[in-house]
């Protein structure tokens, strides 16, 4: 009768709670507290996956987040998550898991053929497939490579879970609740500091979970639990389990993911995971070290594991990883524990050389040569590797710290790094349990003083010092299929290949072989790869160099990073006061920045083109209405308001009367047009400036910048009033009739209220300010009122317009009508490289002002060239084909590249009033080219056009001045 694999021990499991789960369709039981890995091992299952490239059978290698082999898909439908480490998946009732990268089954995988022909697939083999024709790559190699390589499949349904984010601040963040971390946190708490302690496992303790040491008279794991509870209860302190600190960022910011309910199953109410953004004043990284595998041939067979992992499975989960165990290493304590649990354990002497492991889907024997050179075959079902320990330097490296190779430890140890991050415990250098306890305390006492706390005199925990065990060298025979990077199937032969092919620098080595580039980020492979390359190069491993670790330390699901910032909550939506009316009228909307603006108002059966033509015709023939509330509005006040405006705009302002408006052009220092718009004078020392909707914030920032940092002596105060005013534009030949019939207190006669003036009146008891500004070229009145009354005013104007067939129009019609008049739109006709002279706006540039922003640059030789691109009109010769914005213009039709382009189309539309397509364009020396023929290229078409003036309708402006 063979010994059961589940022993009487097991701190983490609760034998009273049995749990059913399935793996690859077969049902098994485990206990509450098990991980998927421990439960599978308890059921005698080691084969859990197939390797990435060679499809070799793979088993559970470790007991932690460094696991490279046991990657499974957990959960169904939208909850499905691939590449989960079985060692970190906590068992819950009904858990469904599947192996990955095997077809048709794990045991009988077709992909295993890759292993037989593996010599065609060494590292970087796919680079050589690029050498042939592109067609062969696309049709043969690529589909094949994509199919055969793999991790798990992506889910096909949306993620139904919810996630959340929190911010936290503390004096000291301790990452890792092992002996050093617990010791550090305890010391800090005692001194009164605010401490946050995080650990990626469900249970605290780190290496203490499998330790036989006693601390302060208690079992190590018990001491750990009690200590964590004390820290958690301290005021202002937190202990977060199941929480991985995955990234360290500037000025001691750490991002961590807390797995809130993953261990309780799917569909549990509340957030599934929580993203923590922790700003600490100091960070102690006590993340421990990773035991490294030994590199002998077939070291990847299922049943071959890390010795420390086998101990953890025994102590925490009561699971024996095998019945006939070979232990590679001198750890007497481990041997004794496994034997006491009922396994037969063979320990090899130091002079034994390992030839290779053999087996199919499970290791069955180890071939060795003994001290006398005699070959032996040792039967076994489990091989435990007691390898060297590599400190987990990832977070230290992310923070900019470097590493140095230590010959004795056979590991890279952290050095340097920022002043606010310190490594402690076996994360810093190989230390015994007792030494870790001391190290955590020592490191903390130093830091506390810097943070302004006095280290307390609490006594250190007492623990017998069993000394540090450094891994002895285990002689192995060289050969193919000794694995370095399990996850990416990189062997020692691949490192040698990289050396032979000249990829000897660490950055090349990494990318050519892909060692260290899998989701485990080389936790169990980086050191060995560097050591191997160093051997080939005959240098110290440190001389090969190291690459930089990047966040995340372990994979993080997108849901956690997005948390609430998704869907409707991704970006705010800004609506005007009239929004409801537009919706009721069936408007189609467009986004202008965060604003929703009506794009056009289709009537039943209308296409967009139909609606726009109708709206354009209505405005020019009778009257239309546009919601212009989104326009940027800046209130400018102060005794120096005029002086300020004169410096900011190209034009003159001093003589603008109260009650009048003026079109202004704003340039950047380099003389390029930045914004344009109308400014109205409200009082001697008060103006209101209107800016392009999308530019409002930018213009205000620009103004504030100069006032605060260049001209602080000017007494000018700026306020954004964009949302304060709702604006209804009433425009068209009948606009005066409409507005005058509903606005009281204003004399609308042309002489009393001319174009470019403003007047105040009321509609009912709503005060309104009416500006005669036209963007359509027709007679226009912009009726501004306080926003809360926006809809009421809009509706009153609309009602007054009904007898005249008033038509609501959207932004598309607005764009067409202004283009017919040659009015520019910032961002359409300008792109930061267009000057006011290019746009034909010389009339707006003051000759008299001694200085304004942009003036000096307009005098630069490059700005005065005559062949600059200038604003012109274009009409297609066939009077039928509408051009496309962005179309490239050349004099002759292009036959072959390269071909000189002389400009591009900035806006293009159909003109309903002129019954022809037309466009605005920037063309080199355009103003001299009136009447000439050019060609517009877009979408594979070449359209001949004539160059015209940049105005198509009512050039004298009679309509709006009437």
């Amino acid at each position: 009768m063979t010994a059961p694999l589940r022993t009487a021990a097991g701190d983490a499991i609760d034998r009273s709670k049995s749990i059913r789960f399935t793996f690859d369709g077969t049902s098994y039981t485990g206990y509450a507290g098990d991980t998927l890995a421990s439960a599978l091992l308890a059921n005698g299952i080691h084969l859990v996956g197939r390797s990435f490239k060679y499809h070799r059978p793979r088993g559970i290698l470790s007991a932690g987040s460094e696991e490279p082999n046991a990657l499974v898909r957990v959960g169904l439908e939208g909850y499905s998550e691939s590449n989960a480490r079985a060692t970190m998946v906590e068992l819950y009732d009904g858990l469904t898991a599947y192996s990955q990268n095997a077809w048709p089954s794990l045991r009988w995988d077709m992909g295993a053929i890759n292993n037989r022909i593996s010599r065609f697939f060494p590292a970087g083999f796919y680079y050589k497939t690029f050498l042939g024709s592109a067609a062969i790559w696309t049709r043969i190699f690529e589909p094949f490579i994509r199919k055969m390589a793999g991790l798990g499949p992506a889910p096909t349904k949306p993620d139904p879970d919810s996630y959340t984010k929190r911010h936290a601040h503390c004096d000291l963040l301790v990452i890792g609740a092992g002996p050093a971390g617990l010791s550090a946190a305890t010391a800090a708490v005692a001194s009164g500091a605010r401490v946050i302690l995080v650990d990626e496992n469900a249970r605290v303790g780190g290496q203490l979970r499998a330790s036989q040491s006693s601390i302060d008279g208690a079992k190590a794991s018990t001491w750990a639990e009690a200590t964590a509870a004390t820290i958690k209860s301290a005021p202002g302190c937190r202990v977060l389990s199941r929480t991985t600190a995955f990234g360290v960022y500037d000025n001691a910011l750490v991002m961590a993911v807390e797995r809130v309910s993953d261990h309780r199953g799917t569909g549990v109410p509340g957030p599934r995971q929580r993203l923590w953004q922790i700003r600490a004043r100091h960070i102690i990284v006590a993340a421990g070290a990773h035991e490294q595998p030994l590199r002998f041939i077939n070291n990847d067979l299922p049943g071959i594991m890390l010795a420390s992992a086998a101990r953890l499975y025994l102590e925490q989960y009561g699971v024996l990883t095998g019945r006939q165990i070979i232990l590679l290493g001198q750890d007497e304590e481990t041997r004794a524990l496994l034997t006491a649990a009922g396994a037969q354990v063979t320990q090899l002497s130091r002079e034994t050389t390992i030839s290779k492991a053999v087996g199919g889907n499970r290791v069955s024997a180890l071939l060795i040569r003994d001290a006398q050179g005699q070959k032996q075959k040792l039967k076994c079902d489990c091989v435990l590797m007691a390898g060297p320990w590599q400190p987990a330097v990832h977070l230290h490296s992310q923070a900019g710290g470097k590493t140095v190779y230590d010959e004795q430890a056979k590991a890279f140890l952290p050095v340097g790094g920022p002043a606010w991050l310190t490594s402690a415990g076996s994360c810093r250098t190989p230390l015994s349990t007792a030494q870790c306890l001391i190290d955590g305390r020592t490191v903390t006492d130093r830091i506390l003083s810097d943070l302004g706390y006095s280290p307390t005199a609490i006594s250190r925990p007492s623990c017998h010092d069993d000394g540090v065990q450094l891994a002895a060298e285990v002689p192995v025979e060289d050969g193919a299929k000794a694995f370095i990077d399990y996850q990416n199937d990189v062997t020692t032969a691949d490192i040698d290949l990289a050396y032979r092919e000249g990829f000897i620098s660490v950055e090349h080595l990494k990318r050519y072989t892909t060692t260290g580039m899998a989701t485990d980020q080389g936790k169990l492979s980086n050191v060995a790869a560097l050591e191997r390359m160093a051997q080939r190069l005959n240098v110290q491993p440190g001389a090969v160099g190291t690459t930089t670790f990047r966040p995340p330390y372990t994979p993080v699901t997108f849901g956690t990073l997005a948390a609430h910032d998704s869907g409707d909550l991704l970006d705010p939506i800004r609506e005007t006061a009239m929004h409801g009316w537009h919706i009721e009228q069936g408007a189609e909307f467009e986004n202008v920045g965060q604003w929703k603006r009506p794009y056009y108002y289709p009537r039943s059966g209308e296409t967009m083109d139909d609606a726009v033509r109708r709206e354009c015709r209505a405005v020019r023939e009778s009257v239309g209405m546009l919601d212009a509330s989104t326009l940027g509005k800046i209130d400018i006040q102060g005794p120096d308001a005029v002086r300020f405006l004169e410096r900011i705009y190209t034009n003159a302002w001093a003589k603008l009367e109260i009650g009048r408006c003026r079109y202004g052009v704003m340039c950047s220092e380099d003389g390029m047009v930045m914004d344009d718009g109308v400014t109205a004078r409200i009082a001697d020392d008060r103006f209101i400036t209107f800016t392009t909707t999308g530019n409002a914030a930018h213009v205000l920032d620009h103004m504030e910048d100069y006032l605060q940092t260049e001209w602080p002596d000017l007494k000018v105060y700026l306020t954004s009033v964009t949302e304060h005013w709702a604006a209804s534009v009433v425009t068209g030949p009948r606009s005066r009739d409409v507005v005058s019939s509903v606005v009281q207190g204003i004399d609308f006669e042309n002489d009393s209220f001319p174009h470019l003036a403003w007047r105040e009146g009321r509609i009912g008891d709503v005060p309104v300010r009416v500006y005669r500004i036209s963007f359509t070229g027709e007679m226009s009145y912009e009726v501004h009122c306080p926003s809360p009354s926006g809809r009421a005013v809009w509706e009153a104007l609309y009602k007054a317009g009904e007898p005249f067939g008033i038509t609501a129009y959207g932004t598309e019609t607005m764009h067409v009508l202004r283009a017919e008049k040659g009015y520019i739109i910032i961002g359409q006709e300008t792109d930061g490289t267009v000057s006011p002279v290019d746009l034909g706006l010389n009339w707006a540039i003051s000759k008299k002002k001694p200085d304004f922003i942009g003036k000096r640059s307009l005098a630069r030789p490059d700005m005065k060239r005559t062949d600059r691109k200038q604003l012109v009109g274009l009409v297609p010769s066939d009077r039928k084909t509408c051009l496309e914005e962005g179309a490239q213009i050349a004099i002759m039709p292009m036959q072959q590249a390269p071909h000189p382009m002389i400009g591009h189309v900035t806006s293009a539309y159909w003109s309903e009033i002129l019954q022809t397509p037309f466009a605005l364009a920037l063309v080199k020396d355009g103003r001299q080219s009136e009447g000439e023929r050019v060609h517009a290229h877009f979408d594979g078409k070449v359209i001949p056009c004539e160059v015209t003036k940049a105005v198509f309708y009512d050039p004298a402006g009679e309509n709006m001045n009437g």
């Binding site: 220092e669 920032d701 602080p712």
Partner: protein, 85 residues
């Protein structure tokens, strides 16, 4: 993510601020006294130091004020001990 101290509001995350380029680059008082080369230098050239530099930041999601600070462009340390306007 940098931690920046707004002189008016206190320490805040970098997200609350807008970066404004190099500090100590005042707009010339009389631009027409500069020749084209000098003006181009003002427009386009920057010192772009490796290491410590003075630069401008604005607390755009807060008080909206501009201030200067010293930052090390290789280590991202920030030094705000001497405040300049």
């Amino acid at each position: 993510m940098l931690l920046i101290r707004c002189p008016w509001c206190g320490e805040r995350d970098e997200l609350e601020f807008a970066y404004g380029g190099e500090a100590d680059r005042p707009r010339p008082h009389s631009p027409d006294e500069l020749d084209d080369r000098q003006w181009a230098e003002f427009l386009f050239l920057r010192r772009n130091e490796k290491g410590w530099r003075r630069e401008r930041w604005r607390h755009s999601s807060g008080c909206g004020r501009w201030f200067n600070l010293r930052r090390n462009t290789t280590t991202h340390e920030i030094d705000q001990k001497e405040e300049g306007a």
